[in-house]
């Protein structure tokens, strides 16, 4: 199996998720066998990526669920659902997947992934493909938020997760789940990411 979720102690990760600050998240390293990681990198390299720019982001993105990444998506969308349910205590439905290439100058500014609220996202995930030394910047940064009457009135960076090859991150989607991808200032950062929907 491409992604063997049985390798991890879901109960222990559920506790880690619960106590993680500034909001629930878990980090899994050495997720794939090295030969599988190499094959996945080759599949991403064959996948077309297009400029993807809006108010709070600028990077290159693949279409949704590119054919070359079907096995990885199937793992997340199949056994991954049960695993995420046990870790997060939520009831995730389908998983989405796109691949992203961040070259120098690419960024994803702080947001909470809730979107319009109609998106129905319950958890987010990201998987990194390239060695850390291939880029500068590009960390996933999580913010601590102070809310007043439902409005964020203060924020502070509270955790920084490096985009290390073969690392899989799951994090919560809620009004408090403010996060960003820090600007890549050199090199390239390549990742797969998406959401679990209700």
């Amino acid at each position: 199996m491409l992604l063997d979720f049985a390798r991890w102690d879901a109960a222990a990760l559920a506790e880690a998720w619960r106590v993680a600050r500034p909001f629930p998240h878990v980090v899994l390293d050495d997720v794939l066998p090295v030969d599988e990681l190499v094959r996945l990198c080759e599949a991403v390299a064959r996948t077309p990526h297009f400029p993807n720019t809006a108010e709070f982001y600028e990077m290159m993105a693949s279409p949704e669920r590119p054919a070359g990444l079907a096995a990885f998506h199937a793992a997340l969308d199949g056994p991954g659902r049960d695993f995420v349910a046990r870790v997060t205590g939520k009831t995730p439905g389908r998983a989405s997947l796109r691949s992203y290439v961040y070259l120098a100058g690419s960024y994803l500014l702080p947001h909470n992934d809730l979107g319009s609220g109609e998106a129905g996202r319950v958890a987010a995930w990201a998987y990194y493909l390239l060695p850390r030394e291939r880029s500068t910047g590009g960390e996933l940064e999580l913010f601590d938020c102070t809310l007043c009457a439902g409005e964020i009135v203060a924020t502070a960076p509270a955790a920084r997760i490096a985009p290390i090859a073969n690392r899989l991150v799951f994090f919560d989607v809620s009004p408090r789940s403010l996060h960003q991808v820090r600007e890549v200032t050199e090199g390239a950062r390549v990742s797969l990411s998406g959401w679990y929907y209700a």
């Binding site: 709070f56 100058g105 500014l109 909470n112 964020i152 203060a154 924020t155 600007e183 200032t185």
Partner: protein, 167 residues
Amino acid sequence: MIGFDYHADMVDEATRAAVRERVVAGGFERFEIADRGRYELSGAHGEAELTETLIALAERQLGVGLAAVAQRWTRLRRGDYALFKDDQRRWTGPGVEVCVDVSAAASQEGQIVYAAPDGGATVPQRPGGVAIVDRRRPMARYERYLGVRFADGEIVRLALALTVCQR
């Protein structure tokens, strides 16, 4: 189509430098709420002559009487930005927004982007340029992130919120 006009080179270099010096001397306060924006802000500093000139320009453009209801000076450097959410909290309209760039240098970054259901417009980061935006209909704006391509420059702008009034 949104109501948008852009006038290049409306404020000469000497005037920009003098205005910039006075604004900076008046002091900026750092604003930083991650999901809104990060930049420096000054709401208090007044530039009466410049403001009158901008209002008169907007009145001629739109054919209505206008009066200032709010203003803010902003200074953005590398790493700074302002998102739609920040505009939602700050915009006092409906009305007309006039923006003037008094920066020392131009860049290909830090544009102001206006978006409405029926279109959009982008204000280039060009010193001396003035944008007149008719915001009497729903519209939002953001200022693009200043990243590694922007290097060590800074952008100084005035945004005036105007309301339609009897002449």
